[in-house]
Amino acid sequence: EPEVTQTPSHQVTQMGQEVILRCVPISNHLYFYWYRQILGQKVEFLVSFYNNEISEKSEIFDDQFSVERPDGSNFTLKIRSTKLEDSAMYFCASSVGTEWYEQYFGPGTRLTVT
C-alpha cells in the first residue's frame, strides 16, 4: 500500500540553525500539507500546497517557514532560523483532491531545537 514517507525521523538542531524536513507524498496525490504537533498537544495545520504554490497557510507559518517541491517527488519544509518553540513533531500529509478526500499522514519528523 502506498504511503507518505518522511526523513529524517528525528532531527536535533541548535537554535538559530536552518533545518529542512523532507517528505515524499503518495505518487498520484496532488495536494500536500505540513502539520505540526507539539508534544502532548493537538495537531496544528501549517500550510497546504497545490500546483507548485501555497494554497493556504496558518498564522504559525510565518516568514521563517517555506515550502518547496524541488522535483517531482519531494516536498520540503524549511525553517530558516529555528527557535526553541519550533520543537515538535512535523507531519507531512497528502491527498488526491480536497473535496471528500482523506489526507494520508506520514510518520513524522521529530524536531528538537536545543
Binding site: 498537544q41 497546504s48 493556504e56 496558518s58 473535496e99 471528500w100
Partner: protein
C-alpha cells in the same frame, strides 16, 4: 476556530461502547476523524460532509449534524486496538485547511 471535543479522556473495558463529540461554533463543510497512537502518525478513519450523513466502518461509525454543527464518533464493542487519541478535524469550506480539536484520549482495558 478550533472545534471542541468531549470528553477529553475516557477509559473503557473491552466490549464497552463510547461516544466522542466534536462541536464547532461555526458552520462546517466537513468533519474528518483520525486516530493517533502514541508516537505514531494520525490514521484517517472517515470523512463526513454537511447534509447530516452518517457513516460506519466495522464497529466505528459517525454522524454529522449540520444544524447543531456537531459530529459524533461512535465506538461499539470496543477492542484493545481502539486505544489512542481521537481527533476531529473540521473544514469550513471545501478545500479549506483542517482545524483539529484538542483530542480525546481513549484507553481500552482488558
Amino acid at each position: 476556530q478550533q472545534p471542541v471535543q468531549s470528553p477529553q479522556a475516557v477509559i473503557l473495558r473491552e466490549g464497552e461502547d463510547a461516544v466522542i463529540n466534536c462541536s464547532s461554533s461555526k458552520a462546517l463543510y466537513s468533519v474528518h476523524w483520525y486516530r493517533q497512537k502514541h508516537g505514531e502518525a494520525p490514521i484517517f478513519l472517515m470523512i463526513l460532509l454537511k447534509g447530516g450523513e452518517q457513516k460506519g466502518h466495522d464497529k466505528i461509525s459517525a454522524s454529522f449534524n449540520e444544524k447543531k454543527q456537531q459530529s459524533s464518533l461512535y465506538l461499539t464493542a470496543s477492542q484493545l486496538s481502539y486505544s489512542g487519541t481521537y481527533f476531529c478535524g473540521t473544514e469550513m469550506n471545501a478545500g479549506n485547511m483542517l482545524t483539529f480539536g484538542g483530542g480525546t484520549r481513549l484507553m481500552v482495558k482488558p
